[in-house]
C-alpha cells in the first residue's frame, strides 16, 4: 500500500516521516530540505505500507522541479492515503495547498503539525470544526515531540478503508460556469482517469503540463484546449481579472474564512519575537558583522579547537597502527613483507582522515545548531545580492563556507549542502566551484611550499592563497553562468523565512553524531578502496632482480661488518645471524614506541626494566651505559642502522621510480615542465587524486633523506622542507607558486567527485568538473610559470600580478549583467 506525505516546505513532513517509519531523514529549520522523494516502510494495522516523503511545495503548479515531483507521485502513484502535513500556526496559508490536494481527488488526512507553536502564539485551534468544514479527517500533532501519533494513525486507517470523505468543494463564483462546461467536454474523452474538475481548473490556469497531456488526445484534445482558451478570455473580458488570478484569490478568500472560524487568536499583525530579532540579525549594516562573527566562531570552534582535540584522539589511532604493526610479520632488512606494507599503508591512509573526526564533529554539531535555530535562511538573505551578481545564490553561502572559503574546509560536506539551493543554474555553479575552496587537505602543501620558497613573506603568501580561491571561484561561477549554464533554469529569490526555533541539545548532538558516522562510513570505504589501488600503482612491478641482488649484497656486507665488530665482545653471541639482527631492529622499534611520549621517570624506568628482562643483550646494545664493550657494539649498530636506512630509502625510491605511477609522472614531464612540474611533483599530484592528503605524504616519500644517523630521530634527519630545497635545486618561488595555484584549482578528490556526481545528478557534470578544473589549473600554472619566466618575474611579483588580475576579473565579471530569463 502506498501512502504519501505532502505539504508546504518546512511544515514538518520529514519529521512525521521519521516518526512513522523510524528513519533518519534530514530535518532542518529551513524550507526546501527534502528535494527528492524518499521512501520508507512501516506497518499499519497489519498491512505493510510504503511511505513516500515528498519535497515541500507551496502549490502544485508545474513551474518548479519539486512541484513536478510531488504532482507526479500524487497523480500517477495513486496513493491509498495522502497525509497533508500542515503548520497549525500558519493555517491560512497551508490550507491553500490543502484545497489543491482536495481538488486532485486524492484520499486525504490532515496532520495538523506544530500545535505547540500555535499554542505558544496563543492561537486556539478548533480542529474538529476544521475537519467538519473541510470534510476531511484532521489529526493535531506535535511532530518533534511525537505527540498525536495515535490519532494520526487512526485517521490514516480510516481513510485507507472505505472513503467516507466528502471533501469541501470550493466555490469559484463566476468561473463555475466555465469549469462546468470544460468538465463536460472532458467527460467525452475516454480513458482520462484524472479528476475532471482539477483538469478544468488547470486548463483555465493554462498549466503547461496539463495542456501537453490533453493535447495528446488528438483532435478532441485540441478542441478542449481551444475551448479553455476561449472561456478564460471571455472570463477576463467580463471580470477584468485573469482566470488564474481569480482562482488564486478564491482559494485565499476561502482559506481566510475557514481560518477565521477555526482559529481563535489574539489580534495578530504586530511584530513577533522573530521579527524583533530579525531587525538586528538581518539589518543591512549590523547583519554583516554578526554573520562574520558566526562564521568566525565556526572556524574557531571546529578548526582551532578541533585540532586541539585531535591531540587527544590521535593516540588512539596511533595505537591502532602500533597494534597492527606488531601483529603483522616483522620488517625485513631492506624491504618488508608485502602484507605488512599493504596493511600499514591502508591504516595510514584511513587514519589520516579519521584524524579529522573531532573537527567534523564540532562542525556538524555547530551546523545542526544553526539549522535548527533557523540562521541559515538569514545567511542567505544577507548574502544573496552579492552572490547573485556572480550567478550564485544566497544559499550558496553554506556550501562555500563548508568547502573552506577561508582555509580549512572539506568539499564533501560543501557539495552535499548544495542541494538546498533552489535555483538550478546557481546550484550547478556552486557545485562546480566548491571544490576550488581551500580544503583542509590542501593546506599542508601550502605550508610546505610557503615555508621553503616564501619564507620571508609567509603572512602575505598565506593571505594570498587563502583569498585568491574565492576570487577565482566568483569569476569562474560567473563565466560558467554565461556559458555552459546559460540555458539552465533559474528561479527568482523568493523564499519563506521560518521563525526561530529553539534547538534541543539532544536533537543537535544526535544529528551531529549521525552525520559524522555517515562521513566515517563513506570516507573509509572510498579511501580504503582507493588507497589499495594507489598502493599497487606505486609498488609494482618493484625492483629488478639485478637491483635486488645488488642491494642484498650491500645489506649482507653491512651485516657482516656489524657481526664482526660484535664478535669481539660477549654480546656477539646475541647477534650472530641476520635473523637475530632483524629481531634487534624489531626490539628497538618496539622499545622506541613504548617510550614515546613517556615523560614520567618512574614509568620510563618500568618500561626499561621490562625490556631488559625480555632481552638483556639487546637492551645493552641500545642502552650501553658505561659498559665499554657494549658501547663498541652500540656504535657498530648505529653504523648498521644508517646503512640499512639508506638501503631502504633507496629501494623505496627505486620502486616508485619503476612503478606505473612513477612512469606516468615521467611520461607527463615533457608537458608539465612548462608549468614547472618535475616528475616527482607529477607523481605527488596524481596520488592526490585519491585524497589531497596524499600530496605531502608522497612528496615525503619521494624526497628521501640522503644521509642520516642522528641519535634521536634516526628516521627523519631533516625536515621535508630542507630535503626538497636541496634535491630540487632548480626549483624557484615561481615553480612553487605555479604548484600552489594548480593545487587550489586541482580536480576534486575521489570522495568529492562522487558527491559531485550525486548532487549534480549526472556523470556528465562529474566529468565536466574534472576536466574544467584540470584545464583551468593547467592554464593558470602554465601562465604563472612560463609567462613569469618569460617576463623575468620573481615569485612574489608574479603573485602580486596574479592577484591584481584576479581582483580585476572579479570586478569586470561583476559588471556583466546576464540577460535574465523573464521572472
Amino acid at each position: 500500500m502506498l501512502m504519501a506525505l505532502a505539504g508546504q516546505p518546512n511544515a514538518g513532513k520529514s519529521t512525521v516521516f521519521n516518526m512513522l517509519t523510524g528513519a533518519r531523514q534530514h530535518v532542518a529549520n529551513y524550507p526546501g530540505v527534502t528535494v527528492e522523494k524518499k521512501v520508507g516502510h512501516f506497518k499499519l494495522n497489519g498491512h505493510s505500507v510504503e511511505l513516500v516523503d515528498l519535497p515541500g511545495t507551496y502549490s502544485l503548479t508545474s513551474y518548479s522541479m519539486e512541484e513536478r515531483v510531488a504532482r507526479d507521485v500524487l497523480l500517477n502513484g495513486s496513493p491509498a492515503v495522502v497525509i497533508n502535513v500542515a503548520d497549525a500556526s500558519n493555517l491560512k496559508r497551508h490550507l491553500h495547498l490543502t484545497f489543491q490536494l482536495m481538488e486532485m481527488g486524492v484520499p486525504l488526512v490532515i496532520a495538523l503539525n506544530m500545535m505547540d507553536v500555535a499554542e505558544e502564539r496563543n492561537q486556539r485551534i478548533d480542529h474538529e470544526l476544521l475537519a467538519r468544514k473541510l470534510g476531511v479527517a484532521v489529526a493535531p500533532l506535535v511532530g518533534r515531540k511525537n505527540t498525536g501519533k495515535t490519532g494520526l494513525l487512526a485517521a490514516m486507517i480510516q481513510a485507507a478503508g472505505e472513503s467516507l470523505n466528502a471533501p469541501l468543494r470550493l466555490d469559484y463564483g463566476p468561473l463555475e460556469q466555465s469549469i462546468f462546461v470544460l468538465e463536460k467536454a472532458l467527460g467525452d474523452i475516454p480513458d482520462l482517469n484524472l479528476p475532471h474538475r482539477w483538469l478544468a481548473l488547470k486548463l483555465l490556469e493554462a498549466d503547461e503540463n496539463v495542456k501537453d497531456k490533453i493535447s495528446e488526445f488528438g483532435d478532441p484534445g485540441k478542441e478542449i484546449l481551444a475551448l479553455a482558451q476561449e472561456l478564460s478570455a471571455s472570463f477576463q473580458k467580463a471580470t477584468e481579472e485573469t482566470a488564474d488570478r481569480w482562482i488564486e484569490k478564491r482559494r485565499y478568500e476561502t482559506a481566510e474564512a475557514i481560518a477565521k472560524e477555526c482559529v481563535h487568536a489574539p489580534d495578530e499583525g504586530g511584530p513577533t519575537f522573530s521579527d524583533k530579532v530579525d531587525r538586528i540579525i538581518c539589518h543591512r549594516i549590523l547583519g554583516y558583522p554578526i554573520l562574520f562573527g558566526v562564521l568566525y566562531l565556526m572556524y574557531y570552534l571546529s578548526i582551532e579547537l578541533g585540532y586541539e582535540l585531535t591531540n587527544y584522539t590521535w593516540p588512539a589511532l596511533a595505537w591502532v597502527r602500533e597494534t597492527a604493526a606488531s601483529a603483522l610479520p616483522a620488517e625485513g632488512f631492506v624491504s618488508d613483507p608485502m602484507l605488512r606494507s599493504l596493511i600499514l599503508w591502508l591504516v595510514d591512509s584511513i587514519n589520516a582522515l579519521l584524524n579529522y573526526i573531532p573537527i567534523f564533529l564540532i562542525l556538524f554539531v555547530y551546523i545542526a545548531f544553526l539549522e535548527d535555530l533557523g540562521y541559515m535562511p538569514r545567511m542567505a538573505f544577507l548574502l544573496d545580492a552579492f552572490f547573485r551578481r556572480y550567478g550564485l545564490h544566497g544559499q550558496s553561502t553554506l556550501p562555500l563556507v563548508l568547502g573552506g572559503v577561508y582555509v580549512g574546509g572539506c568539499a564533501v560536506p560543501g557539495v552535499m549542502a548544495c542541494r538546498a539551493v533552489p535555483d538550478e543554474r546557481a546550484r550547478l555553479a556552486t557545485i562546480l566551484v566548491v571544490p576550488m575552496m581551500n580544503c583542509l587537505a590542501k593546506v599542508p602543501l601550502y605550508i610546505l611550499l610557503i615555508g621553503v620558497y616564501f619564507a620571508a613573506y609567509k603572512g602575505q603568501a598565506m593571505f594570498f592563497i587563502a583569498t585568491i580561491t574565492i576570487l577565482m571561484a566568483l569569476t569562474t561561477a560567473k563565466l560558467l553562468n554565461l556559458s555552459v549554464l546559460r540555458d539552465k533554469e533559474t528561479a527568482p529569490f523568493i523564499m519563506e523565512m521560518p521563525p526561530y526555533h529553539s534547538p534541543t541539545v539532544s536533537g543537535v548532538l544526535r544529528r551531529g553524531v549521525e552525520r559524522v558516522w555517515i562521513y566515517v562510513k563513506k570516507i573509509t570505504t572510498v579511501v580504503a578502496a582507493v588507497s589499495v589501488i594507489l598502493f599497487v600503482l606505486m609498488q609494482f612491478p618493484g625492483l629488478s632482480s639485478e637491483q635486488k641482488a645488488n642491494m642484498d649484497a650491500r645489506a649482507q656486507k653491512a651485516q657482516t661488518a656489524f657481526m664482526r665488530a660484535a664478535q669481539k665482545t660477549p654480546l656477539g653471541e646475541a647477534v650472530n645471524s641476520p635473523e637475530k639482527i632483524d629481531q634487534l631492529f624489531d626490539f628497538e622499534s618496539r622499545y622506541k614506541s613504548a617510550r614515546m611520549g613517556v615523560t614520567d621517570q618512574s614509568k620510563a624506568d618500568g618500561i626499561d626494566a621490562d625490556f631488559q628482562e625480555e632481552n638483556a643483550n639487546f637492551f645493552a646494545i641500545l642502552k650501553p651505559g658505561k659498559d665499554k664493550q657494549a658501547k663498541t657494539v652500540s656504535r657498530a649498530f648505529k653504523k648498521l642502522r644508517r646503512a640499512r636506512l639508506t638501503l631502504r630509502l633507496e629501494a623505496k625510491n627505486e620502486i616508485i621510480n619503476r612503478s606505473i605511477l612513477g612512469g606516468l609522472g615521467k611520461w607527463l614531464e615533457p608537458v608539465t615542465q612548462y608549468a614547472g612540474f618535475t616528475w616527482r611533483v607529477n607523481v605527488a599530484l596524481l596520488s592526490a587524486l585519491a585524497a589531497k592528503e596524499n600530496t605531502v605524504a608522497t612528496l615525503g616519500a619521494l624526497y628521501q633523506p640522503v644521509d642520516s644517523g642522528d641519535e634521536d630521530s634516526p628516521k627523519q634527519d631533516s625536515a621535508l622542507e630542507s630535503r626538497m630545497a636541496r634535491q630540487e635545486a632548480g626549483f624557484t618561488p615561481l615553480h612553487a607558486l605555479a604548484l600552489m595555484l594548480f593545487m587550489a584549482l586541482y580536480p576534486p578528490c575521489m570522495a568529492a567527485t562522487m558527491v559531485v556526481k550525486v548532487q549534480a545528478g549526472s556523470w556528465k557534470w562529474m566529468l565536466f568538473s574534472l576536466v574544467y578544473m584540470t584545464a583551468l589549473g593547467s592554464v593558470v600554472a602554465f601562465l604563472i610559470f612560463s609567462g613569469g619566466s618569460l617576463l623575468g618575474l620573481t615569485g612574489l611579483e608574479a603573485m602580486a600580478w596574479f592577484y591584481a588580475a584576479a581582483v580585476a576579473a572579479v570586478i569586470v565579471t561583476g559588471l556583466i549583467r546576464p540577460k535574465h530569463a523573464e521572472t
Binding site: 513551474y63 547583519g287 544573496d384 523568493i494
Partner: protein, 101 residues
C-alpha cells in the same frame, strides 16, 4: 564613473520611481522596493513574470494582501511580513510589486 557605480549596485536603487500611474486613483502608489523598514502597505498589483507571480501567490502575496517590511537589505532582498508568513523577496521582484499605503 557614477554610472558605473550605479551599474555595480544593480541599477535598481531605491531612488527609482515607478512610471506614471495608469489610473487616477493610484497616486499614492509606489513600488514595494521603495518601502522602508516598519512601513505597512497593501498590494494592488504584481507585474512580474508568471513564475515569480505564481510563487508569490502560493506564499500568500497577492493583490489585496497587507504586508509590512521587517528588514531591507537596500541593494539585496527584502524581508516581508504577511500575516503569519515571513517572506524574502529579491529586489528585482519587489520592484515589480505595486503597493499603496
Amino acid at each position: 564613473m557614477t554610472r558605473w557605480i550605479r551599474r555595480w549596485r544593480g541599477g535598481r536603487g531605491p531612488q527609482e520611481r515607478m512610471e506614471a500611474p495608469s489610473a487616477e486613483g493610484l497616486r499614492a502608489a509606489s513600488r514595494l522596493s521603495n518601502l522602508d523598514v516598519g512601513q505597512e502597505a497593501e498590494v494592488f498589483g504584481i507585474d512580474a513574470g508568471r513564475k515569480a507571480r505564481c510563487r508569490l501567490a502560493s506564499l500568500g502575496l497577492i493583490p489585496g494582501s497587507r504586508l509590512r517590511v521587517v528588514a531591507n537589505c537596500r541593494y539585496g532582498p527584502m524581508l516581508l511580513s504577511l500575516g503569519e508568513t515571513r517572506l524574502m523577496v529579491e529586489r528585482g521582484v519587489a520592484a515589480k510589486v505595486l503597493v499603496r499605503q
